[in-house]
């Protein structure tokens, strides 16, 4: 319903100005409702802060809701490609929905800029560009801190699902470089009522630190249980946990929790001269002023996706007109070759083998201090 009025407005605008022939159309599928909506809302809100023109051409955003469902995401993708003839696809905030979109992107030869991490086989990789930080990059920040503090053994407790596995593997992959050993691999479910058993096992193993592979408020249960049982060592979370709700649920016991995240979350605390500081701080200020939903990394991914598209469109417009298959192919080639595009999260430099293009500047460690996520000193 909402998007129909969008199209209506878009058509009206198109008819009103004859100059708008080269309009760039971006089709977005996001989980604005359903279980993933608490993050999806941020991704969606960001599109209200986007510029009206990119690379000198008018731009139209068509935002569809996939209700946190991968099948809907695929349907949205097909609709956007066939009916709206979009030049670029974007979405979604859940990995399964993103994978569904990736399939549509490859079939229809439309570039997809993903808003969630995605692991793709080489044949599905071609048309897909990934904005968020890979989990390995995020956990690398944790591994470096573990090394700095000279922690030798780490306990692990994570979700009993794909996310728990992903964080565990990412942590394990840095073990040699970080000089630590994982001594437990405990699992729990987001809606479990107790993690006492797992926490006792960790405490019995007496590790120097603990890594939690949960997300959102789900990360609070082990944090609280560990502190209640008197665990004194540092507790590391992952980037999925960095939101205001985690602190609300964790209360006093959340203090001191450490997590990696995109620098945009603490943009105004970054040292002067940090590559993404200016843009990130400005975006966060605008976002908080308009929506007042607390700091988070998610809206900024949408913003970076559009910045990447803008950078690529500057090149692609030299070769073809928007709305054509040639333009979509030119966009793909241009996205693959963007260099030093400064976003809110990272400085992106892509290549044929690297469709994410981030480096170590794309993550920082934050900790809960006085009931807020703050840059770790």
């Amino acid at each position: 319903m909402k998007f129909k009025s969008w199209i209506g407005a878009g058509l009206a605008a198109a008819f009103a100005s004859t100059a708008a022939l080269a309009e760039i159309t971006i089709g977005i599928s996001i989980a604005a409702t359903g279980p993933q909506a608490s993050l999806g809302v941020h991704y969606k809100n960001a599109f209200e802060l986007m510029p009206k023109t990119i690379a000198g051409e008018p731009v139209k955003f068509i935002v569809l809701d996939n209700a946190s469902d991968a099948t809907n995401a695929a349907r949205n993708g097909r609709k956007l490609v066939t009916e709206d003839k979009v030049d670029v696809l974007m979405g979604s905030n859940g990995v399964p929905a993103t994978m569904a979109l990736a399939q549509v992107a490859n079939e229809s030869k439309t570039p997809l800029v993903t808003l969630s991490p995605a692991t793709l086989s080489p044949e599905n990789f071609n048309w897909v560009f990934i904005v968020p930080q890979p989990t390995e990059l995020m956990m690398d920040a944790v591994a470096k801190d573990v090394k700095k503090r000279n922690l030798k053994t780490l306990g692990y407790i994570g979700f009993s699902d794909g996310w728990g596995d992903l964080v565990y593997k990412a942590t394990e992959s840095h073990a040699a470089a970080g000089g630590y050993r994982l001594v437990t691999n405990e699992r729990y479910a987001r809606n479990d009522t107790s993690v006492v058993g797992q926490v006792l096992k960790i405490i019995a193993a007496n590790p120097d630190g603990v890594i939690v592979g949960g997300s959102g408020t789900g990360g609070a249960l082990p944090q609280i249980a560990l502190r209640e049982r008197g665990y004194k060592g540092p507790i590391y979370h992952n980037h999925g946990t960095v939101n205001a709700e985690f602190i609300k649920v964790g209360g006093k016991l959340a203090e001191g929790a450490i997590a990696p995240t995109g620098p945009v979350v603490v943009a105004d605390e970054l040292p002067a001269g940090y590559a993404t500081k200016a843009l990130g701080a400005e975006f966060m200020k605008r976002y908080e002023a308009k929506f007042n939903l607390g700091r988070n990394a998610f809206a900024a991914y949408s913003y970076d996706a559009v910045l990447l598209v803008e950078a690529a469109a500057r090149e692609a417009l030299k070769k073809a007109r928007p709305g054509t298959a040639e333009f979509r192919a030119a966009m793909r080639d241009a996205l693959e070759n963007v260099k030093n595009v400064v976003g809110t999260h990272a400085v992106y430099s892509m290549s044929p083998t690297n469709h994410n293009g981030m480096d170590e500047r794309a993550r920082v460690l934050v900790e809960v201090r006085d009931g807020q996520w703050r840059l770790m000193k």
């Binding site: 009993s160 797992q198 789900g218």
Partner: protein
């Protein structure tokens, strides 16, 4: 594993098991009286826990809307039947029970949200919001099909579960909430520290069990429920309105669910879908007890809590697998040893 760890695990298991035991009792009660396998039982827990957490945070719990809209639907159901039958005298009661009471609760809640009342009052408000959902749910979803087969009633239960979970997601959102603890008091007992919260859980479970025992043993309503449970047709023949029994058993189930929710809200993070899993474990507990006897169901649920606690220590990745597969050997053993009682006939 040391003895200390075993003690701690035991304490955790008893706390969880006590909650499962409450739910097992509620499920058993509903099943024996109405033959409904009450899947949405767990939703009352989520609704109550989240409502309490929201009240304490000074926000309006969405349960209010569910209650008012549900009451409206139930009133329409009964109202249309009454008007068609020309039984105008029934209307005032329908309006009072299904419209005035929910609206009154909504008004009280609306007034109470900014007041930051004492915890006891907030708990009462939560009970007032959640308990009426039981009879409303029975009226809307089950009463029209009260004589259908167990399977049909089970399918209705699944539908009701999805509707209530969906509404929970809409009104409470996808992230979890946790209520502040009722008291920071902790009892040191050797190596154990027992929080006031977990003592309260066990105490409340015992109190509710005694109350149920008194209700069934002493009161006329309890006896009517028992009679309906033992033989529906016979109960109807001696003049027990089975519709009333159904409504009453759902009210009790909602009450038990709401109390469990209030008790568990400060212990763990509650999501809109947490209750389902807790309810399911209560159900497994009831099955372990043979789905027929209250003490056995409570015992089954308690053992399940202990099993869960110990398996989360030994093999946390397989915890749910262990907890839910235990049902298979128990069912095999029961079907081999027990004489197959005559199931209530399909009409």
């Amino acid at each position: 594993m040391t003895f200390d760890i075993a003690l701690w695990l035991g304490q955790d298991g008893v706390t969880n098991g006590a909650i499962y035991a409450l739910l097992a009792l509620a499920l058993l009660l509903v099943f024996t009286v109405t033959r409904v396998i009450f899947v949405p039982q767990g939703e009352f827990i989520s609704y109550a826990a989240l409502s309490l957490a929201l009240l304490q945070a000074g926000r309006m719990p969405g349960t209010v809307y569910v209650l008012v809209i549900g009451g409206l639907v139930a009133a329409l159901f009964d109202g249309v039947i009454a008007v068609r039958a020309g039984a105008w005298r029934r209307l005032p009661r329908i309006v009072l029970v299904y419209l005035v009471l929910p609206l009154l609760m909504a008004a009280i809640t609306w007034w109470a949200v900014p007041q930051k009342l004492a915890l006891g009052w907030q708990v009462l408000i939560v009970l007032g919001l959640v308990v009426p959902l039981g009879p409303i749910l029975y009226r809307v979803a089950y009463q029209p099909l009260a004589s259908a087969s167990v399977l049909v009633l089970f399918i209705v239960s699944m539908a009701a579960h999805y509707v209530l979970t969906g509404l929970g997601l809409v009104f409470f959102g996808g992230e979890g909430l946790r209520a502040p603890p009722f008291s920071d008091f902790q009892l040191k007992l050797g190596v154990l520290t027992i929080s006031a919260q977990s003592m309260l859980v066990v105490a409340a479970t015992l109190v509710i069990m005694v109350l149920l025992w008194l209700l069934f043993g002493r009161s006329i309503y309890g006896k009517a429920l028992r009679a309906t449970a033992i033989n529906r047709t016979g109960a109807r023949l001696v003049g027990i309105p089975t519709g009333l029994s159904g409504s009453l058993s759902f009210t009790l189930a909602a009450f038990i669910g709401a109390v469990s929710g209030v008790l568990i809200a400060p212990i763990t993070t509650i999501y809109y879908d947490t209750g389902f899993l807790i309810g399911l474990k209560g159900f497994v507990g009831a099955i372990l007890g043979g789905m027929g006897s209250y003490p056995l169901a409570a015992l089954g649920a308690l053992s399940l809590g202990l099993l869960e606690s110990f398996s989360s220590f030994w093999a946390s990745a397989y915890k749910e697998v262990i907890v839910f597969t235990i049902i298979i050997p128990v069912l095999v053993w029961r079907s081999l040893t027990s004489h197959h009682a005559v199931e209530d006939e399909e009409e």
